[in-house]
């Protein structure tokens, strides 16, 4: 993954970004077309369905706001996953970190209720980031100390986080009533509305600022340099004197903190309290968001909006075209699959290429080139062939 090298190489970098955008757009379009096929197969009116999808996602100010509200937890959690990706770590635990952050935020907001609005919100978010960070630090430390794979430990910690927060709420923070939830946070602790009459709050602004901050962290700071280095080439990182184990822990902690903020904004901007079991799996969708974004911080923004739109539009589709939301779930699965498979679109492009004739005069295909690249990367003496870095 090329870091944009300042100034002179910009055009090439942009071409690459545009190319990737095209690829992603194509994958999404392909997934929606496959979804259309499913709809048609089930006898739904595809046009009506997709009109409602569009209308619900972008058809009005309220729709756009709704899309963005849906996108918010995915933006934060997706950013968290993307950050860990860049550090070479698979953080499937954003879900758990988000719960930790949400509970900490709700408790802090209640505890410091007499504080004025701005410091109160800041403190509550800080608490969320800290709690999420701690919850992320655990798998990081386990990986650094024992080598336990973070995919498994983070998945397990998700379950633990959900159960633990539920237990804590019940035991210590429960508001009276039939639901295991904390009391509503005071009005001045809530994130202010951005557009009156919609549910859109300042969370969006915070999200964009955070994207910029993470991008800056990764590209412009020594710490970010370490993270990317460990992620892309641990061998070189060791050599350069980067304390890899410590970076693993910190990368997971930062990732967890960002995921914790996802929980914070849910509490401060949407739910106004912590509710046991509130997340429908934001943390898992976030993995897909980060992937669609190709782990670039700025890519997370449109990717989160895409998934937010699928959700918001999916609701309208369900309400007014009577199409089950599960179909949208399936389409989301398709989006993830198609975006994840770089070879898919190449396979499509390659179709017209004649089958290679036996023995001699092989047609040059993307695949043979990839093979060459793979071989040279494995290190034969053919140094010059390295120039070809895969299709």
């Amino acid at each position: 993954m090329t870091e944009r090298t300042a100034g002179r190489r910009l055009p090439a970098a942009w071409a690459e970004v545009l190319g990737e955008l095209a690829l992603t757009a194509a994958a999404v379009a392909l997934a929606l077309l496959a979804g259309a096929a499913l709809l048609a197969l089930a006898g739904y009116d595809v046009r009506d369905a997709y009109y409602n999808l569009w209308d619900g996602a972008f058809g009005s100010v309220y729709s756009v706001a709704d899309t963005l509200v849906n996108a918010m937890p995915l933006l934060f959690a997706g950013l968290a996953v993307a950050f860990a990706f860049r550090g070479g770590l698979f953080n499937i635990g954003a879900e758990g970190q988000l719960y930790a952050g949400a509970l900490a935020t709700a408790v802090t907001a209640a505890a410091l209720a007499e504080w004025p609005s701005v410091p109160l919100i800041a403190a509550a978010m800080l608490a969320g980031a800290l709690a999420g960070g701690l919850w992320g630090l655990v798998p990081g430390a386990l990986k650094a100390k024992t080598g336990a794979h973070e995919v498994i430990t983070t998945i397990m910690l998700n379950y633990v986080a959900i159960l633990l927060t539920t237990h804590l709420v019940k035991q210590y923070f429960k508001a009276p009533g039939p639901v295991d939830q904390t009391a509503l946070i005071p009005a001045h602790a809530r994130l202010p509305e951005l557009i009156a009459g919609t549910r859109l709050t300042w969370a969006v602004v915070i999200g964009v600022v955070l994207v910029a901050a993470v991008d800056w962290l990764l590209r412009r700071t020594s710490f970010g340099f370490d993270v990317v280095l460990v992620g892309s080439n641990p061998g070189a990182a060791v050599y350069a004197g980067v304390p890899v184990a410590a970076r693993t822990v910190w990368t997971m902690a930062v990732s967890g903190a960002v995921a914790g903020l996802a929980g914070s904004t849910m509490v401060l901007g949407v739910l106004y309290r912590f509710i046991a079991n509130f997340s429908p799996g934001y943390g898992f969708t976030a993995v897909a968001v980060a992937l669609v974004a190709r782990a670039r911080p700025w890519g997370v923004l449109p990717a989160a909006v895409l998934f937010g739109a699928l959700q918001a539009g999916g609701l309208t589709m369900q309400l007014f075209a009577r199409i089950p939301a599960d179909l949208m779930t399936a389409v989301q699965g398709l989006v993830i699959l198609f975006v994840a498979a770089p070879g898919l679109l190449y396979a499509w492009r390659r179709l017209p290429v004649a089958a290679p004739r036996a023995g001699t005069a092989m047609t040059m295909t993307a695949e043979t080139a990839a093979e060459g690249a793979a071989e040279t990367a494995a290190g034969p003496d053919n140094e010059t062939a390295r120039r070809e870095a895969g299709p």
């Binding site: 993954m1 090329t2 071409a15 690459e16 190319g19 990737e20 095209a22 690829l23 757009a25 194509a26 379009a29 392909l30 929606l32 077309l33 259309a36 595809v46 046009r47 009506d48 997709y50 009109y51 569009w54 209308d55 309220y62 709704d66 849906n70 990706f85 860049r86 159960l163 019940k170 009533g177 039939p178 639901v179 295991d180 009459g197 549910r199 992620g231 892309s232 949407v270 739910l271 509710i275 079991n277 509130f278 997340s279 782990a295 918001a312 609701l315 369900q318 309400l319 007014f320 939301a325 770089p342 070879g343 679109l345 190449y346 499509w348 492009r349 990839a370 870095a389 895969g390 299709p391």
Partner: protein
Amino acid sequence: MSMFRTLRSTPAVAPAALVLVVALAALLAFAPAAQAQTGRMAIVFATGGLGHQSFNDSAYAGVQAAQARFGVQFDWAEPASVAEYEALLTRFAQRGNYDLIISIGFDQADAVTAVAARFPSQRFAIVDAVAEGDNVASYVYREAERGFLLGAVAGLMTMRASDPKINEANVIGVVGGMDIPLINANIAGYIAGAKYVNPAADVRYSYVGAWDDPARGKELALAQIDQGVDIIWGAAGRSGLGVLQAAQEAGVYAIGADDDQGHLAPGHVLTNGMKYVNNTVLHAVQSVINGEFTPGVIALGVAEGALGFSDSLVPVDIRAAVGQLVTRLIAGELVPPDTIEEVDAWLEANR
């Protein structure tokens, strides 16, 4: 980041991408006009959607009854998470053409309160929770009453060792979906009811931890049956269906939840804890149709015919005995406890 590195040098794909995007755009080109809608109700179900064979389905039955009786039209939504409630309610409210928007489920209170405040001229009803607002009718149930009746039935039945499905042990059980207040009110009533009619009865209870894992529901039930439980209530959404199957396989009695679930384990469902959400929905719709919509809290229980138990396989004499209790509940002489902690004190007081 090898997984992303393979994606370089993409321009060759751009044409393919373009074709796909254009194809999709073509699909959207001719959008249908939105139809005008009149005389409608909207309903937002609880998370988990339809098909629990219980709560939401009962509500849906109410919708169907209302359609049949009053000819009203319904739009509905099955949200996947708590966070969606508000968006859905807002969507409905924005359309401005619904006579009533009904929310089902205890966790919609916040959303209804918020949306009701934003759309003061829209009428809302919420079932199973209290929401604030001058335009909201809140229907709540006295859950413990239902548990109390079921406990009484089970407590009497488990002493009937002549029945082949009943053993010597004086133990009954209940499997809850989650350890939450709503379920615990049922369990508290259940224990109180059982011990009220059968002081020596032993009541076991445990929780699945999920509404959608019938396999574990079944194992929890079997674990209780191992301990001598011969009547077991599954108050656990879809997980509760596993409880019915366990009872069927082990040859003991099960108690169904929320709706009549007798068909799932024929010959084994002793009774069902009935929560007539359908009646509640019907009542709410009717109040609007008749122009009698009244905001505020409406508590429903056995007296209002919103809770009860089905006769099913309950022997006549037990039916009669529990019928006595129903009368006393209606009369307000018995007010079962809402939490498990209060049960012992309540029994002491109601000796």
